[in-house]
Amino acid sequence: MLAYVIRRILIMIPTLVAISVITFVIIQLPPGDFLTTHVAELRMSGESVDQAELEALRNRFGLDDPLYMQYFLWAWNCLHGDFGYSFEWKRPVSDLIGERISLTILISVSTLLFTWAVAVPIGIYSAVRQYSWADHFLTFIGFMGLATPNFLLALILLWFSFAYLGMSVGGLFSPEFAAADVPWTLAKVWDLLKHLWIPVIIVGTDHTAKFIRIIRGNLLDELKKPYVTTARAKGLKEVNLILKYPVRLAINPLVSTIGWTLPELVSGIAITAVVLNLPTTGPLLLKALLSQDMHLAGAFIMLLSFLTVVGTLISDILLAWVDPRIRFGARETV
């Protein structure tokens, strides 16, 4: 087991390096280096530019060095927790992203738990009662959930709650807790929980729908297998029979798909957050991209991707722990 974990972590390293390279390319993509853009903007708004400060910044990011040296400098700094400097906010990037990233993680994990909690019972029900009207109804709802993009759902919900309930559902905190410097008290946590369910449901819908489809399909396959017939012939109670054997196999994908679920959840949160104005990464990332504040944007993109890589790692370890076939089978394939 330990050997497997270590091997998985070693495999992860090249992935992380590749992600950092792609992120660096994205940072470099806008024409001209970001300092030039910044200076041009300052000139346009009539502010004076301090040449000495400019020179210091050029040195700090090695802008006169060749590109690969710039990458190494940047990556080295990132390793030490220095993600660069945000010109838009005039603060180091690492100051800006901490809380937002952790809120994103919080929402992702709660959404994941929510989708499981909803999808498993519904999936089992529609498989066991295949082609009943409830199955058709749930399938239809599932398709609707899949077809409605998160941010549009958020938009519709905003409109609905504004027009009919007369309240606004945006944000993650009530105004009195919204400022970043309010300490984390029990009251603030409670306030967060009260707001959390809206983004969780919105981001969770399409995944819930997807999981329902997966569980239903898998369970239908399992139910046709001979061992189910055998168990039934032996007189096992239907509820025990279904819950004990086929369901356990059918919900395996829940764990094994965390790897691609997490990136989708994160990107769903990013765009929903823009609509609902949540203090997560989305709005700030968008703002950073629009003003070409590329260090900030790059840090977000890279950390969000790292997050999913780590999530995949955890899910792989979980899966190996649950299922010994993977633990031993992996030795041959990897």
Binding site: I26, A147, P149, G170, S267, A270, A297, I301
Partner: protein
Amino acid sequence: MNEESKIEEKKREEKYLNASTRQLIWWRFKKHKLALMGLYIIGVMYFCAAFCEFLSPYHKDTRHSDCVYAPSTKIRVIDHKDRFRRPFVEAIEPDIDLESQQLCYKPVQGSCCPIRFLVRGDKYLFWGLWETDLHLFGVEPPGRIFLFGTDRMGRDMFSRCLYGSRVSLSIGMLGVFLSLFLGLVLGGISGYVGGWIDGLIQRTIEIIRCFPSIPLWMGLSAAMPPHWPALKVYFAITIILSLVGWTDLARMVRGKLIALREEEFVLAARFAGAGHARIIFRHLLPSFTSHIIVAITLAIPSMILAETALSFLGIGLRPPVTSLGVLLKEAQNVTTIALYPWLLIPVLFVIVAVLAFNCAGDGLRDAVDPYSR
């Protein structure tokens, strides 16, 4: 009687056994009512998108400056004297609602402008080929018909939705074909050649899949210089979407190729002296064309959604290009939506399109393996 039904049964069985794969797929697909409906809806939507200039009563950029934020026009058949007439609309004029101090519109008393078909209206260049001004329907002046209301510049939302679905639907198609190309080539190499090339391509796919797609798309499209012309942005967005989207197709192609590579018929072909290219294109590819079609059908909606999301955020397509996402950008603000809810109508187009593709794709997936029971 009994004999007859037996013969009937026999005939049906014979027909089943003699049918080609394509026929079997089609029969099986037809049984899936929801999928069939999805296919019809897709057909209708692409038809509307193709002929949007003709189907829409106005050009997408025509401004009716005296009808800003007008609600959808009511079509009536009973006029103010309680007489029954052919469908008509009433001309509207702006007014101030004294209670809420908001701009509103009231019908002009006694005006009655019948709806006519095949009328002359705004000029347009049909498919860029010839100039015409024929529209499917319109109303007699001074009336105007806004089925979905108008936006903040007094442009007809119905026309704009039709024009917008043309861009959104075509970008989905184009993006999918680009990613299909990438997926076929890279997945094909990966599956057929194998070895370290396979490993390299698989690692690349894994890395791309680690990125949350929307932030990555955002990053890439924010890098587009703002001064690019609309058409260039359109193609750039397509490329960006397919750069991320090809991985699923490549995986599917690779999986299928690996499974089929060891089949007897491939071995037979190789013994018969067929080259690699012939084996791939003549023997392997046709055996999973149907699976590719399924993958495409299921990939298009995610492309449409991605384009909508990017344009909605303001980093995708930009006006004057009109896509469904660009239209929705107008509806970002809660107060706007609360006052003018018809600006949300493009959402319905997105949902219906995506739903139709998903249903059709689902039915196709069930149908592509006609020999399984």
